[in-house]
């Protein structure tokens, strides 16, 4: 097990290095630069800026310098936000996104799993149909529509919830709900089909023949087997959700990482793009390792080698 984790972490380092390299060169292949979009800059000033950030050096040298820094946890300074390092920006913005994202994953999981179960147990009945229709909507409707709808109803019409910022717990309700909408719907559907699959299995018949009541056999036998696909989905879901959603953060004016990432791209803020990309990649890879370990705990048939 320990050997397996070490092996996976080793592979993770290679993957992250590949991601970093690829992003670095792709970014530099795109025409334009970080200082071009702003109001006309004199060639002299531009040269000075480029020298300051090392952008005048040959590309490969820049790359080496960057990787060297990255290994020591130094992703450089932001090119646009004067005087701030990439690390300081990530560490100030990530907790905000992580809190909202974490809460919404929690919400999605704790709503989606029971809804999927209820739906599967009442297959073909009204309850099932209602849940399926709502879940399909949840998957189909884009998040900006949901954000706007929530904001309009609870923020403007009813006036129950604040619409901007993150000051009190009330501020969290709408963004968390909006962010959780899609994964809840997805988990519900996934759980339903996997539960239906499990309910048809022979060992469920064995449980019935043993005389266990429905609740016990559901909890002890069905749930554990049915939840396996959800675990797989949860890994990448957590990684993507905690790094923030651009749309939700923009609409509710939340100072999160998602917003930061998008604006860094439009601004050509190379160091931030690099930093956030590597950060996101690391998170996704780590989550996948975690998922594999959790999988092993839930399903004894999995052999981690």
């Amino acid at each position: 097990m320990v050997k397996y984790i070490l092996k996976r972490l080793g592979m993770a380092v290679v993957t992250i290095w590949l991601v970093a390299t690829l992003t670095f060169f792709l970014m530099n292949m795109v025409p334009g630069g970080p200082f071009l979009s702003e109001k006309a800059v004199s060639p002299k000033a531009l040269a000075a800026l480029e020298e300051k950030y090392g952008l005048d050096k040959p590309l490969f040298e820049q790359y080496l310098t960057y990787i060297k820094g990255a290994i020591h946890g130094d992703f450089g300074d932001s090119l646009k936000q004067r005087g701030r390092t990439v690390m300081s920006i990530i560490s100030s913005k990530f907790p905000v996104s992580a809190r909202i994202g974490g809460l919404s994953v929690l919400l999605a999981f704790s709503l989606g799993v029971p809804l999927g179960c209820i739906s599967a147990l009442n297959r073909g009945k009204i309850g099932d149909n209602i849940i399926i229709v709502i879940a399909t909507c949840g998957i189909a409707v884009p998040s900006f529509v949901i954000c706007t709808l929530l904001m309009y109803t609870f923020g403007v019409k009813l006036g129950w919830l604040p619409t901007l910022g993150l000051k009190t717990w009330k501020h969290y309700i709408m963004p968390v709900a909006a962010l959780a909408f899609y994964p809840t719907a997805y988990i519900t559907r996934l759980m339903r089909s996997s539960m239906l699959d499990v309910l048809g299995q022979d060992y469920m018949r064995t449980a019935r023949a043993k005389g266990l009541n429905q609740f016990v056999s559901l909890f002890k036998h069905a749930l554990r087997n049915a939840i396996l696909p959800i675990v797989t989905y949860l890994g990448p879901l957590i990684a993507y959700t905690v790094t923030g959603s651009f749309i939700v953060e923009k609409i509710f004016t939340i100072p999160g990482l998602g917003g930061e990432f998008i604006s860094s791209i439009t601004n050509r803020d190379y160091t931030i793009i690099m930093g956030t990309t590597i950060f996101l990649a690391t998170l996704v890879i780590l989550m996948n390792v975690v998922v594999d370990i959790v999988y092993k705990l839930v399903d004894p048939r999995i052999n981690l080698k």
């Binding site: 022979d202 018949r205 005389g211 554990r224 004894p300 048939r301």
Partner: protein, 363 residues
């Protein structure tokens, strides 16, 4: 042959229809089976003959689209204080059946041991589950009992195996575990649904021998559902041959095997591979089992029956009594019918079998 003269299960005139998307399927059409304490009854038939459905009805685990049109399934059991009670399982709700019958008094062994155990739970936990649930046995005591059970079904290293997961055991071992689970609550009746078809031949024989031994030691009644007459010959006291949702011949084991009367039974017996002859060809029953979606007037077996009479297409034959214990549903037994004998090959084979059996004591 155990004879306690106490009826434990009495299925009477059972009639079940399944409502499928393709239309109603009349799967069980008036089935009568009874079983005495300590005895073994085999229900023989091809897939779709209704043999599994009948037993699922007795367990109260019919699929939700099944409708019982008529009939009773009376099950007799003893309470802890010795008082006897008879219930009609069809009249009880599922909750009651689960609480009082399933696992506790009627247990089941299924066909495929590869899929009938929960892959994410240890063998031990699956074994003690029933005891803890039905009798509130303390976990530690149940654990000890479970180890005993594993030893009883012939599993070595029982203590170690308790902590194993199903995938760590071979198919034969898993079926032993399934049997141990079925025995956990000391049931009065064990239903074995094709308990060996999914196993390797050498292991099949061992599992059958195991079930026989356990039955003898515990004095329980067993119902075998199978399409394999070889298995039946090895285990059963009574045989019910089912075809298209009806019992077409029933009787004591020797009556069915040495004096079969129904053409379908003739076919089944003839189709069994015979290792003692030089025959080049296997006998076959022509055609395939009927589609129960389209109900047929008269005898359902008539289209595949080379001895069919004209009346077979018009009227369903009743059960004709041959002896006190032997009955068959074929018009050939009607006094007005022309005299038809079983096929020569089968006759010769039965003669040979009788000769071979002469040296054996009837047990």
């Amino acid at each position: 042959m155990a004879d306690y003269n106490e009826k434990i299960l009495d299925i009477h005139d059972l009639d079940i229809t399944f409502n499928t998307t393709a239309g109603p399927v009349h799967a069980i059409r008036g089935v009568d089976i009874d079983l005495m304490k300590g005895e073994t009854v085999a229900i023989v038939g091809e897939s779709g003959s209704g043999k599994s459905v009948t037993m699922k009805a007795a367990m109260g685990i019919l699929a939700s689209n099944a409708a019982v049109n008529k009939g009773t399934i009376e099950f007799t059991y003893h309470h802890a204080d010795g008082t006897q009670e008879t219930v009609d399982i069809l009249e009880k709700d599922k909750k009651w059946i689960r609480r009082h019958i399933n696992g506790k008094r009627i247990a089941m062994v299924f066909q495929d041991p590869m899929t009938s155990l929960d892959p994410t739970m240890t063998i031990g936990k699956q074994l003690i589950e029933g005891m803890v649930w039905h009798f509130k046995t303390p976990k530690k005591e149940a654990w000890e009992k479970a180890i005993q059970l594993l030893k009883e079904v012939g599993i070595t290293d029982a203590e170690k195996r308790m902590k194993n997961y199903p995938h760590q055991l071979s198919g034969g071992m898993r079926q032993r575990v399934v049997i141990a689970i079925a025995l956990a609550c000391n049931p009065d009746l064990l239903i074995c649904d094709e308990p060996t078809t999914a196993l390797d031949v050498t292991i099949q024989a061992k599992i059958i021998e195991l079930i026989k031994r356990v039955q003898k030691e515990r004095g329980i009644s067993v119902i075998y559902i199978t399409h394999d007459l070889g298995v039946v010959a090895k285990v059963a006291d009574y045989v019910n041959v089912m075809y298209a949702g009806k019992i077409v011949e029933k009787g004591k084991i020797n009556e069915i095997f040495y004096d079969p009367r129904h053409p379908y039974t003739w076919g089944l017996l003839s189709a069994m591979p015979d290792l003692n002859t030089e025959d080049e060809r296997l006998y076959t029953i022509p055609g395939s089992p009927p589609n129960l979606l389209r109900e047929k007037t008269g005898d359902a077996f008539a289209p595949r029956n080379q001895f069919a009479l004209e009346i077979d297409d018009k009227l369903e034959p009743p059960m004709f009594k041959i002896t006190e214990t032997h009955e068959a549903a074929t018009w050939l037994l009607d006094p007005r019918a022309p005299k038809v004998e079983m096929p020569e090959e089968l006759k010769a084979r039965i003669e040979r079998m009788k000769k071979e059996a002469e040296g054996y004591e009837e047990s």
